[in-house]
């Protein structure tokens, strides 16, 4: 039997499940690096979050009589939640976060494509504010274990120093807080005349969530996604760029240094900015569809991340900034429409 169907009869190679698998693939290097750094407990956290996300999706499938496991979106949500967890977190937290992400954030709004907030971020923020202490105690990475026992992150020690009234460059503040460094970072930092902490943050020798430590591996994954046409370069580049610019201009104010006084590399590579900008702010469902809208979205993300990190009480603002911009995405969509072909002047009020 020949098939009769509407045109077009050919299709591009990219499909939604394939795109999900590409994202998972792009995240894997960073996740595995986290497992190497933090050991078995990190692997356990990842496995538990993925298993609970997929498990909840399966249970909901049983009720709704749908089959959505194999669009791999739940798998991806689980992986992202795991990567956003501190390595030694009690295991009930990732389970709770995954369940919240899949059930409340995704399914109560209608499943894949209907959620207004990135499920992984929703899950993370939910458990972060419910169990702030547990979510803020990080483990020492393997590569630094010889030097120290302190397990503060770069951003949290900066925030502690600044809120206690200390002033000075982030390098001096971090040295005062005796945050550890690898020998490699010290030597590379002195040859290139850059902050050695930025070197460690770039390559991933810092304390932090399992999947966010290595900016380098995350950027590689992001480039893979851009190459595979899953995402466009606009959101990550403009997000990071606007954040870096704002931080460069105004980032010194809380430290008592005035404007144009802060280096760019350290804030960009520390915390969850790289993970957020390449993998969460580019989530298809919760970001604008037009390039114009994506630019506005990314600028907003950059602005709010800057604001929360430098002038808020929390050390890290990536996830909150992205959620905030997720909320305004429908509004952006309303105003950032594509320009229609053959319409020179928009006819105002003609249709209504």
């Amino acid at each position: 039997m020949k098939t009769i169907s509407s045109s077009p009869h050919v299709h591009a190679k990219l499909t939604t499940p394939k795109a999900m698998l590409y994202v998972i693939f792009a995240l894997l290097p960073s996740a595995l690096w986290g497992v190497y750094l933090f050991g078995f407990s990190a692997l356990l956290v990842l496995v538990i979050s993925i298993a609970s996300a997929v498990g909840v999706e399966y249970l909901l499938n049983r009720f709704s009589k749908e089959e959505t496991i194999f669009d791999y979106s739940a798998l991806l949500t689980g992986l992202l939640i795991g990567m956003n967890m501190p390595p030694k977190v009690p295991l009930f937290i990732p389970i709770l976060a995954s369940a919240f992400a899949i059930f409340v954030v995704k399914w109560t709004f209608g499943g894949l494509g209907a959620n207004w907030m990135n499920p992984a971020l929703g899950g993370r923020v939910f458990v972060f504010f419910s169990f702030t202490t547990l979510m803020s105690s990080f483990a020492v990475p393997r590569t630094l274990a010889a030097n120290t026992v302190s397990s503060a992150t770069i951003l949290s020690s900066l925030k502690t120093a600044v809120s206690s009234g200390a002033t000075g460059s982030s390098l001096s503040l971090l040295e005062e807080a005796t945050l550890p460094l690898t020998d490699f970072a010290l030597s590379l930092g002195s040859t290139l005349h850059i902050n050695p902490y930025a070197v460690d943050a770039f390559f991933g020798n810092i304390a932090g969530c399992i999947g966010e430590v290595s900016a380098f591996l995350l950027i590689l994954g992001g480039i893979f996604l851009i190459w595979k046409k899953v995402i466009t370069w606009h959101i990550p580049v403009i997000y990071i760029g606007s954040f870096a610019l704002l931080n460069w201009i105004f980032g010194g104010i809380p430290n008592g240094l005035g404007i144009f006084s802060v280096e760019i590399l350290l804030p960009v590579f520390s915390g969850g900015l790289i993970l957020g900008s390449f993998f969460m702010a580019t989530d298809w469902v919760t970001t604008p569809t037009t390039i114009k809208g994506q630019v506005v979205f990314a600028l907003g993300c950059g602005f709010f991340t800057f604001l929360i990190r430098n002038f808020g009480s929390l050390p890290e603002g990536t996830s909150l900034a992205i959620i905030l911009m997720n909320i305004v995405t429908p509004t952006i969509e309303r105003y950032m429409k594509p320009k229609k072909f053959g319409y020179v002047k928009p006819v105002k009020g003609a249709n209504k």
Binding site: S7, H9, T16
Partner: protein
């Protein structure tokens, strides 16, 4: 790798002109389907042997079907009118052969419509040929236009708009640019390419005939860069004859063969929504049509045959052929060696992006049939929920929001969908092509347009 911005490209374009940005294309949207032209590109046009039976539909063209002039048992000669135009937008239909009318019956066309058709049994000996060349240099533009109408010329790119209507320039309007469409942006199709390579001189002369009718300031042939040899070939011929015609190489992008996108790419003007090319001082003609006009004017040969590409992965020997209007698909298929599989997944009339899938191999060739494709099963794409990835929005050449129109149509809000520009949609298929969730967007728009118009 240099690909178009934000497109799900499947091909790499390494042509120097592409990289340097020296060639133009339309800016908004568009996709790059795998062009698959290599299947039939090299095959020289062959003539299909006289079929046993021809089914000549009266609905060959856009607009009102022609009125049938024959009845069962009538003797017809090739080029004799068997259907006459009924209405302003309509066209004449001629008998392709000397023969006898077997019957008048309904026939199902590739697009699913039912139409009256004259079934003709050709004589074993064909006496009428169109080989006498006539001198047309003394004809006025009205006389030329009258013969184009009389000989049933319609646009052969697929839309089959009656050409005499298009070339009739109303008083007070003038033509700045006459653009000949040699883009052939649909994958697989190579018929226009072969015409350019083998009948270049005729095409150029046809352009000069049309220029006599519409008197344009500029004449442009737009050709995509995947047909570089055709560009060079035509440029050499133009130089030889010293014609005032420009050949414009265009960056490959679907749907450049649409007149809106073609005019944007060549003369950088946008046709306002709901208007015609003439409103911006342009006339667009398909390359095959130009060739048909040349044959009509200098040989008095009506539009009774056309070049067709028979291609697709399911065809044994992909070919370009000349087939008489009314030839059954089965005759074309067997001339190309038949299928190389038991049965192909789809049989398509036209190109894979906008063509119609049909099942009946008795379906006849029309004036607008540019290709017959047999496709094998594609990669399986399950229809999932819309994930707002924005591919449809970014690839729509008309700047519409297919995701929102789809949502409205699905919920029965046809007026809202039309407010979003549903009627500007030309069903080029870029949205459905690029949708990773495999949503049948074009299908829903077709339905939405029908139901929306009905409700109004």
């Amino acid at each position: 790798m240099k690909a178009c911005k934000n497109c799900i490209c499947e091909q790499e374009y390494m042509l120097k002109e592409h990289r340097m940005g020296l060639v133009s294309t339309f800016k908004k949207g568009g996709v790059h389907p795998d062009d698959k032209k290599s299947l039939a590109k090299a095959s020289v046009i062959e003539r299909i042997p006289l079929p046993e039976e021809l089914i000549v539909s009266m609905a060959q063209h856009l607009g009102v079907p022609a009125t049938c002039l024959k009845k069962k048992g009538d003797v017809v000669v090739a080029g004799e009118k068997i259907g006459t135009a009924s209405g302003f937008i309509s066209a004449e239909v001629h008998s392709p052969v000397d023969g006898v009318v077997k019957e008048i019956r309904k026939v199902r066309l590739a697009n699913g419509a039912l139409a009256d058709a004259v079934v003709i049994i050709p004589d074993s000996e064909q006496k009428t040929t169109f080989t006498t060349k006539y001198d047309y240099s003394s004809l006025t533009s009205e006389e030329l236009l009258a013969s184009i109408k009389d000989l049933g010329i319609v646009g052969m790119g697929g839309a089959t708009f009656p050409t005499h209507v298009k070339l009739q320039i109303p008083v007070g309007k003038s033509v700045d640019a006459f653009v000949v469409n040699g883009v052939e942006c649909e994958p697989y199709l190579t018929a226009d390419y072969r015409v350019m390579m083998e009948k270049g001189k005729e095409v150029l002369e046809g352009i000069m005939i049309i220029s006599k009718i519409i008197n344009p300031k500029r004449m442009i042939i737009g050709i995509e860069l995947n047909k570089k040899d055709a560009i060079e070939h035509l440029e050499a011929l133009i130089k030889e004859k010293n014609y005032p015609i420009e050949v414009m190489g265009l960056k490959m992008k679907y749907p450049q063969g649409d007149e809106k996108q073609l005019l944007k790419a060549t003369i950088n003007k946008e046709i306002p929504s709901g208007k015609l090319p003439l409103d911006i001082g342009a006339v667009v003609c398909n390359l095959g049509t130009v060739n048909a006009i040349y044959e009509a004017i200098s040989y008095h040969k009506p539009l009774i045959e056309r070049v067709i590409t028979i291609s697709g992965e399911g065809i044994k020997n992909p070919k370009n052929v000349i087939a008489l209007v009314g030839t059954k698909t089965s005759a074309l298929l067997s001339f190309a060696g038949g299928y190389n599989v038991e049965e192909p997944e789809k049989l398509i009339s036209g190109g894979p992006m906008m063509g119609f899938a049909f099942a009946d191999e008795e379906t006849p060739v029309l004036k607008g049939t540019s290709g017959i494709l047999a496709l094998l099963p594609p990669q399986e794409i399950k229809t999932l929920a819309c994930v707002s990835c924005g591919n449809c929005v970014r690839h729509c050449p008309m700047g519409l929001s297919p995701n929102k129109m789809y949502r409205n149509i699905k919920n029965g809000l046809y007026q809202e969908a039309m407010d979003l520009g549903l009627l500007d949609c030309k069903e080029c298929g870029c949205c459905a092509f690029s949708c990773p969730s495999g949503i049948p967007l074009v299908q829903s728009f077709r339905m939405g347009k029908k139901l929306g118009r009905r409700k109004k």
